[in-house]
């Protein structure tokens, strides 16, 4: 008989507060995702401080709602203004915007909602079945395996980010260096505290995140002129329920795109953007009318949205079972877990069985909420795009400052946040990706601990000990080999298919459309 307790143990935690937090989180996520310039990353990092007073399960489920909601909400701006509300909705713009221009904005948003919810459902099922198995397997991991997975994650993140891989890796190293500030974990000797007692325990993770992804985004968005939405388009958002007519026709597409989404999501470092690029390209290959894709095709919207929302479950699988975030947003979520005294990873399945179960149930509910809220609320979310930009940006700036202050009631953290905002801004201007920094900051201490534990176990005989470990389980050398292969692959092939650089190809279609 199957043991279903993993799927029911969380039910007692789903009290009225949790449900309210879930609904509130999902709604906030959709709203933030729908506004161009405010990404899921920013939403989660700014909202982390708001969860301090909550219990762990309420906090985590609320943030998960924000994460999944924002991932979906990006499609609303993509449809109406041809700007992805969150980066991962970039492929949705290709077909949803032309469809909206034809006066079918309602249908486009409906299709995006339906596909997002189905992709999300699928990924939660995979998450709840696979993650306990992977976690049991991962319990046997020693320091060498953990170290190599961390190196793999940061390298993949650097590889995938738009632009030069070398710069991505440099950003990762920068993050690792920042993570090594403060007391040395083994000997408690102070490192790089610049004479300030506030830095004795290192840089506050939440402050750095809010700076890098909250405030930097505002600085960048304040530079651009906001694009206005024609009223005609907003009024055209009606009858999103028409999308169900296309459900039966798109079943194959939905399934295929969801599988792609989950797999890509589960690769540490790769997230929704890559998943939707791959599934869109795949759909174009298999489509009976590939020439129609990019001109308002139903299948284009379905492929892009199902894949980018299916990523959420995939990314959570690696987070919960291995303790390695699948993308930048889950990296920030991992920070939230730690703040609430939980260490994501295989042990969580033993120590917080109920919470894991509640996460499965919660994510299931979140996708139902996306379907219901998305279909019923589409006309209202569309109106949000009219909200004056300068007000919104100012409110977010204030929230960045108060949120950071609230972490540990320290004005020093606020200064750290501003410093990281400036760093993030300079990095963006120099075309150095910011995402690897998150992963490096969160994995930094784990990497150093495991490296040094391994070194002390090796006791001087490094190569011999490495061979000995590899003979026991070949996991670490395999992961390291894949990492090296990924990093040198551009030398053999000109274009990086599996990278955000593939976007350039689609940017032309986008230009034509607008």
């Amino acid at each position: 008989m199957f043991d279903f307790s993993l799927y029911t143990a969380g039910l007692p935690l789903m009290g009225i507060t949790t449900i309210i937090a879930l609904i509130g989180g999902t709604l906030t996520g959709i709203v933030i995702g729908a506004l161009p310039g405010l990404s899921a990353m920013m939403a989660v990092s700014i909202l982390v401080p708001l969860t301090y007073g909550m219990t762990a399960e309420v906090a985590i489920l609320m943030l998960l709602g924000v994460y999944c909601g924002a991932n979906y909400g990006g499609s609303i701006a993509a449809t109406l203004v041809n700007i992805p509300g969150t980066p991962s909705a970039v492929m949705t713009t290709l077909d949803a915007y032309p469809m909206a221009k034809n006066g079918q904005a309602g249908l486009a948003i409906g299709l995006a909602t339906m596909s997002s919810a189905i992709g999300g459902f699928f990924s939660v099922i995979v998450l709840s079945m696979l993650s306990p198995l992977i976690a049991r397997f991962a319990l046997q991991f020693t320091s060498l395996e953990k170290l190599s997975i961390a190196i793999f994650g940061i390298s993949v993140m650097a590889f995938i980010s738009k632009g030069s891989t070398v710069k991505g890796l440099m950003a990762g190293i920068f993050g690792l260096m920042v993570a090594s500030m403060g007391f040395d974990p083994n000997t408690s000797i102070l490192r790089f505290n610049f004479g300030s007692i506030y830095l004795n325990s290192g840089v506050n993770f939440t402050a750095a995140m809010i700076g890098l992804f909250g405030m930097t985004e505002i600085m960048l968005s304040a530079e651009k002129k906001a694009k206005s939405v024609p009223d005609k388009q907003i009024e055209a958002v009606k009858n999103p329920f028409a999308c169900f007519k296309y459900l039966r026709l798109s079943l194959g597409n939905l399934f295929r795109s969801s599988v792609i989404g989950v797999i890509v999501g589960a690769i540490p470092g790769a997230g929704g953007t890559i998943a939707s690029i791959i599934s869109y390209a795949q759909q174009k290959k298999l489509s009976k009318h590939p020439e129609k894709m990019g001109q308002g095709a139903v299948e284009g919207i379905v492929a892009a949205e199902a894949a980018n929302n299916a990523c959420t479950g995939g990314a959570m699988t690696t987070l919960l079972s291995l303790g390695i975030p699948g993308d930048a947003v889950t990296g920030i979520l991992m920070g939230a877990f730690i703040i609430h005294g939980l260490q994501p990873g295989p042990n969580l399945f033993n120590t917080n069985y109920n919470l894991i179960s509640a996460i499965f149930i919660g994510m299931f509910l979140i996708n139902i909420l996306i379907l219901v809220l998305g279909l019923l609320g589409a006309p209202y979310f569309a109106k949000l795009l009219k909200f004056p930009r300068q007000l919104l940006n100012t409110v977010i700036l204030v929230l960045c400052v108060v949120g950071t202050f609230g972490v540990q009631n320290s004005m020093f953290d606020v200064r750290v946040m501003v410093v990281f905002a400036i760093i993030g801004y300079i990095f963006t201007k120099l075309e150095v990706p910011r995402a690897p920094i998150v992963l490096a900051l969160i994995l930094g201490s784990m990497m150093e601990e495991n490296l040094r534990r391994w070194l002390s176990l090796a006791d001087g005989q490094y190569w011999a000990y490495f061979m000995e470990c590899s003979r026991k389980t070949p996991i670490a050398p395999i992961i390291l080999a894949i990492t090296i292969f990924t990093l040198i692959s551009p030398l053999f092939k000109k274009t990086k298919v599996f990278s955000e650089d593939a976007l350039d190809e689609y940017e032309e279609i986008n230009k034509k459309n607008s």
């Binding site: 007073g53 890796l169 440099m170 920068f174 490192r191 930009r389 940006n393 700036l397 004005m411 002390s456």
Partner: protein, 148 residues
């Protein structure tokens, strides 16, 4: 140009980490007891990558072009200046007053009308104060308004 800046700053940072870690006291003979070991590995990798980036930039013969948008820089300066002043006055003036002043000037700076700035500044400040200090129990600085 961008690659040159990134490469040179990377080299600078790795050099700093390398020399600063010289001062760390070493407690044992093994590598795992050396607090400077890990930062130095990072510094080494960073230096190698910076050199690689610089060589790549030299080989591509990237033209050194410096493009500065003056208005953009001035606006950025104003933005950061405002932010820093805000952070400095939060404690002495208190959160409510400081935030109202900040939102007023920021809405204006970001292109809002004076009317918008006047109407929204105080409500935004009060609402955030209420949200954080009552609902989330964050003790925000009261400053001049000690009586509330």
């Amino acid at each position: 140009m961008k690659d040159y800046i990134v490469g040179i700053s990377g080299l600078g940072l790795s050099g700093y980490v390398f020399f600063a870690s010289k001062a760390f006291q070493r407690l044992g003979s093994g590598l795992s007891e050396d607090p400077a070991y890990y930062p130095r590995i990072l510094a080494g990798i960073l230096a190698a990558m910076s050199i690689g980036l610089l060589i790549g930039a030299l080989r591509k013969r990237n033209k050194i072009e410096v493009k500065f948008n003056r208005t953009l820089l001035i606006n950025l300066g104003k933005f950061l200046g405002l932010l820093i002043v805000y952070i400095l006055i939060i404690v002495p003036l208190g959160f409510i007053i400081a935030t109202a002043l900040f939102t007023f000037s920021m809405i204006w700076l970001l292109g809002g009308t004076r009317k918008q700035a006047l109407v929204y500044a105080l409500p935004i400040s009060l609402l955030t104060y209420l949200l954080f200090s009552y609902l989330l129990k964050v003790p925000l600085p009261k400053g001049l308004l000690q009586f509330i």
